[in-house]
Symmetry: C2
DNA sequence: CGATCCGTTGAATTACGTCAATAGACGTGG
DNA sequence: CCACGTCTATTGACGTAATTCAACGGATCG
């Protein structure tokens, strides 16, 4: 996990961009000080493997910036992305040393991390870290189950629409009401396909189709303008009221 | 959630079949007493809706016996099962009153349950309940992500094989080495199809194919003898070493 | 300039879905 | 006991959405 990493300057938690959304969100000043005492920052360039399925994971990390993907690859090469780690999401499993999945930085990633044993001790002592971790894990579980609906029952077009909608929602999609929101795709077409259980080709075709239908606009391969978010959400089977799209 | 329910006699936790695997698994005697003070048993006949997506859930429940399925149904009727609740699994989300999914008893179900507010208070006070709940939730999350690989990347045959393998693993599949293990299917073909993101017809065809290939034997619609578990696991893309199949 | 990487597009193939008929299991009532 | 209806599962014929195979185009880089 470490070879290409670089240290970043330690900053105060009070200025931390994920202070109120990460695993530390519920901490009182005292607890925060204890977390702070064992934290360290680290950065990894895009492409770095942050964890590998079955290998030991030495740290529990919170994503500060950038994006990482969790995936599993079958022996014959088929790959499925099972999650996207964005700022404030965590990586690592307390109570278990081995990672269940591959985790790869898909853009440059900076994390705030804790040595595993130290973090687990902290988990026992600082109730607000434990409760926040439980809440985040429950949220992740709901999201994973929501995504199962997409993988199991949606058409290619719906899958792509659902993916874009979920990205806008999670990235806070720079919503500029009326004019459509600007969306940066952190993933390549191949990675999107692996996320959706599709091939590169069908993914590309569906993106093209959404463009031709006027729902989105391609500024570049990685930059998309959502022309009609409401219509896109409808395509994703999200009628606005309840249907949570990850 | 309640109309058709019946009470069951309260038994001591020390004789409880899920005492060492449910949310109470790590409790010391003192904590167990506190849990016991607010617990109650309840039974529901097969077919009962234990929760509905978007509706309030008044209790946190542990499955004592029987089987329930969690699912979401899209407006047009497409349905996806997102999880199977077996003994020791829990139902309900601390910190949130609304269920994210439909939960239906697929067989007669008995639960040990706690009123939500009381359970949440207990979660704050008894660290071993909180830590066990976190561990179980992390396990569920891994399982949900494993299942995403099945839904997104496996063929119909592999899906059916993976489902059977996972059932054997979770039900402790009455393994009779050499002679094959006996497996009771808690789900109808339709429910299996909804679990696998397939239609009833393809599910049925794949079961037939596995039978004709000598991997399984159909004693009745709901009773299967796994003739060659190793071969079945191979079909499920499980090479024995690491590949976790839910 | 050629080489490589990534994405798009077209044509052919196929795995799975859809539609439809049939069969077995079970219960009810004459 | 048999006739009948219902419910679930199986099987067949056919249609189609997505994959596969293949060619091509536009970046980026030595």
């Amino acid at each position: 996990m470490c070879r290409m990493s670089r240290f970043s300057p330690i900053v105060s938690c009070s200025e931390c961009p994920i202070r109120h959304s990460a695993v530390c969100a519920e901490c009182d000043p005292d607890e925060l000080a204890r977390l702070s005492a064992i934290k360290s920052y680290r950065s990894f360039p895009a492409g770095t493997m942050l964890a590998e399925a079955g290998e030991r994971l030495t740290h529990f990390s919170s994503i500060l910036s950038g994006c990482a993907s969790m995936s599993r690859t079958l022996e014959d090469g088929r790959r499925q992305n099972v999650g996207l780690l964005l700022p404030s999401d965590y990586l690592g499993r307390p109570g278990r040393a081995e990672s269940a999945f591959d985790v790869e930085a898909v853009s440059d990633v900076t994390v705030c991390r804790f040595e595993r044993a130290a973090f687990e001790a902290l988990l026992r002592d600082t109730p607000h870290v434990a409760s926040r971790l439980l809440t985040m894990t429950l949220d992740e579980l709901d999201a994973a189950r929501d995504w199962a609906v997409v993988l199991g029952r949606m058409t290619a077009r719906e899958k792509v629409a659902a993916f874009l909608v979920s990205l806008v929602r999670r990235q806070g999609g720079v919503a500029r009401p009326g004019r459509g929101s600007l969306l940066h795709l952190p993933l390549s077409r191949e990675a999107i396909a692996d996320h959706l259980g599709l091939t590169i080709e069908t993914t590309s075709r569906q993106i093209t189709a959404l463009r031709k239908d006027g729902l989105i606009e391609l500024l570049s391969n990685r930059e998309i303008r959502i022309a009609d978010f409401g219509a896109l959400a409808m395509e994703a089977g999200d009628d606005g009221d309840g249907g949570p799209i990850v």
